[in-house]
């Protein structure tokens, strides 16, 4: 029995796309690179101490004093360990892929909540995206977007967008039927119903999805460094390849601090707004 030539098919599809859609990929590449660079530039603009103070204020406003203290001490440690620039680069990558995930994921989630056919097509694709080993995306990403931070963002988005889509869908479907009915009964248009009733009520669930997405894209920083994305991931990768145990631990610790601060901040900022 002859082997089904899946590998050949994918190969030629990727080559065809790279040949014919290069204008599109160049445009996407330009936009993403600009956004990442801008965010990184913005974060590196103030002195680290000032950045830490601002972070402290935001963390305090978002909730509690312990969070503010932890954020400030954590980032001071990062500054002390001399990983500041790399951390800011990684932060820019995470925030960019988070933004892209929200911008794409929320509308797709809304679509799947409204349309059963769309849901039936999209949900299996999400399963596919999440379970396919992330390394596999890296190659086509490099083919389309060359080396650097852009394919890193793309790979992060593919890997981390599913929770935003799924939980947006769930959030909207969870809105009690009688509230949707009430909104209809008063003569809302579809947009009014979505923006005045469904989305506000879906917000807690949706934000849980966004939080998950941010965490997942942070977990991609090390993998992204393998294709040339600068940042703390690159430090981890270098330490691992050079068997520098101590340095590897330091860089890993920075990733942990970043993860905890991002997680608690993204959870709390929404809760504060709700109050």
């Amino acid at each position: 029995m002859p082997k089904i030539p899946i590998a050949e098919w994918v190969q030629s599809l990727v080559e065809w796309m790279s040949d014919h859609l290069s204008v599109l990929f160049d445009a996407i590449s330009l936009i993403i690179a600009t956004v990442v660079d801008f965010i990184a530039w913005l974060f590196l603009l103030p002195h680290p101490i000032i950045f830490i103070l601002i972070l402290g204020v935001i963390a305090y406003w978002a909730g509690r004093i312990p969070l503010a203290l932890f954020s400030m001490i954590g980032f001071l440690l990062i500054y002390n360990l001399d990983y500041w620039t790399q951390t800011m680069d990684s932060l820019a990558l995470v925030i960019t892929s988070g933004l892209v995930s929200i911008l794409l994921g929320v509308p797709i989630g809304i679509l799947t909540a409204y349309n059963r056919t769309a849901s039936r097509i999209i949900i299996p694709i999400l399963d596919f995206m999440q379970t396919m080993p992330a390394f596999v995306y890296l190659l086509p990403a490099v083919t389309f977007f060359s080396l650097g931070v852009v394919p890193g963002v793309i790979a992060s988005v593919i890997f981390s967008i599913p929770p935003t889509i799924r939980l947006t869908q769930l959030g909207i479907k969870q809105v009690p039927e009688e509230l949707v009915e009430a909104s209809n009964a008063f003569g809302s248009t579809a947009f009014q119903k979505l923006f005045k009733v469904q989305l506000p009520l879906a917000m807690p669930t949706l934000m849980a999805g966004v939080n998950q997405t941010i965490m997942l894209s942070l977990s991609m920083v090390v993998i992204a460094s393998m294709i040339g994305a600068q940042g703390i991931g690159a430090e981890v990768y270098r330490a691992v390849t050079q068997l520098q145990i101590g340095k590897g631990f330091e860089a890993g610790l920075v990733v942990v601090i970043l993860a905890i601060v991002l997680d608690r901040l993204s959870q709390n900022i929404f809760k504060t707004k709700k109050r």
Partner: protein
């Protein structure tokens, strides 16, 4: 004038609905359709005319199709066939835009589980209907405050719905529906989720509001007492069909079939029957007659009291046989022995409220109209008889 006309409306669930409609019109029953064609009949050929300004109650047990029916009045549920005319215009032929207009301006709805938006404050909930019509902020806030005051929730606007009790939440639901100033209010089991006492208060308040507003109210309920209390007319539904439409009295006194009869069997008559149902023709005399004539009259009729009226039947008072006999001996006139502070009631009073009055009074209860004209008399025996079911309802309704 009919504000809402429902013509031959059918709602089916399941496959082959077109065929189902045809079969139903050929006389297939609900059971046959379910068994042979797997079609569920939600609403079966309903015809109703709802008049401007009335409280029209649609009553039935759960699963009788009443909620489905009422949701077709604003097309939250699409009828399978039939016509729904609002001010003579067919709702079924309207496009989305026109339908929205009807929902915004003409028909508002109050829901069983309140359906308040939990992320909005009370006042923002009340404003919702105006907000989506893009009424400017100042105007809609004003109207919302008025509406909130109307339902007795002045000063509660900044609370969140979950900070309010059930009764208060439903007032917010009512205020939200009223803020649009609709002509028709659809109230879907609006008070069913409330405690009995609160429910009773809400019914009273709704009736009071209605006196001022004169809206057309379509009220869904499974509670017969509620239906009898607030309905001007009642439609009884069973298995998707309307079994009987009539005033509360007609439903009680002339049940259309066994089903209605069974339904009304357990009704507490003291809360339904009124003075007009149990009163009898009064024996009367005019004031210019003497005590002797009065005595003679009482002896003839075998009674011990006479009502005294003037020429246009206005009630002046009552005299007793004992007083009349004394007056005869002492050469007094009827005027001298007239009891003017005897009890009197209007014909609408429920008989449940009459027991106390009759038991504390020495003379029979007079029933008078608003001009104090004597309509009838109520004796204790008749009151008890009525509660025991010993009353010819048909005859009574003919009189009333």
């Amino acid at each position: 004038m009919a504000i809402l006309e429902i013509k031959d409306v059918i709602k089916l669930f399941g496959p082959n609905q077109e065929q189902g409609v045809a079969l139903l019109k050929q006389g297939y029953t609900k059971q046959q359709l379910a068994k042979e064609k797997q079609i569920t009949v939600g609403v079966n050929r309903v015809n109703l005319d709802i008049q401007q300004g009335e409280i029209f109650v649609i009553m039935g047990l759960s699963g009788s199709g009443k909620s489905t029916l009422v949701r077709m009045f604003n097309r939250l549920i699409e009828p399978t066939s039939g016509q729904i005319l609002v001010h003579g215009k067919d709702l079924m032929k309207m496009n989305k835009e026109q339908l929205r207009h009807v929902r915004r301006k003409t028909i508002s709805m109050v829901f069983q589980k309140f359906a308040l938006f939990p992320h909005r404050s009370v006042i923002e909930n009340v404003e919702y209907g105006l907000e989506i019509q893009k009424v400017d902020k100042k105007t809609r806030r004003e109207k919302a405050l008025q509406s909130l005051e109307l339902v007795g929730l002045k000063g509660w606007g900044d609370k969140k719905p979950d900070e309010l009790s059930g009764g208060m939440q439903q007032r917010v639901g009512l205020a939200r529906a009223l803020a649009n100033d609709p002509e028709v209010l659809l109230m879907d089991e609006a008070f069913s989720a409330l405690d009995p006492l609160i429910r009773r208060d809400m019914q009273d308040e709704l009736l009071e509001l209605q006196l001022r507003m004169k809206k057309t109210i379509i009220f869904i309920t499974h509670d017969l007492d509620e239906a009898l209390r607030i309905g001007d007319r009642i439609a009884l539904m069973r298995e998707g069909s309307v079994v009987q439409v009539g005033t509360p009295e007609e439903i009680l006194m002339q049940p259309a079939n066994r089903f209605v009869e069974r339904f009304v069997e357990d009704v507490d008559l003291s809360k339904v029957l009124t003075a007009s149902h149990v009163m009898r023709r009064p024996e009367t005399i005019t004031l210019d007659r003497g005590p002797r004539t009065a005595l003679q009259l009482m002896r003839e009729r075998g009674i011990s009291n006479l009502f005294v009226i003037d020429r246009s039947k206005h009630l002046l008072g009552v005299i007793t046989a004992e007083d009349a006999s004394n007056a005869y001996k002492h050469h007094q006139s009827l005027q001298d022995i007239l009891i003017t502070d005897g009890p009197k009631v209007t014909p609408e009073r429920l008989i449940g409220e009459l027991f106390e009055i009759t038991s504390s009074a020495k003379v029979p209860l007079a029933v008078v109209d608003s001009d104090n004209r004597l309509l009838g008399v109520i004796v204790r025996g008749a009151l008890l008889g009525a509660l025991a079911g010993d009353i010819d309802f048909k005859e009574v309704t003919d009189h009333a």
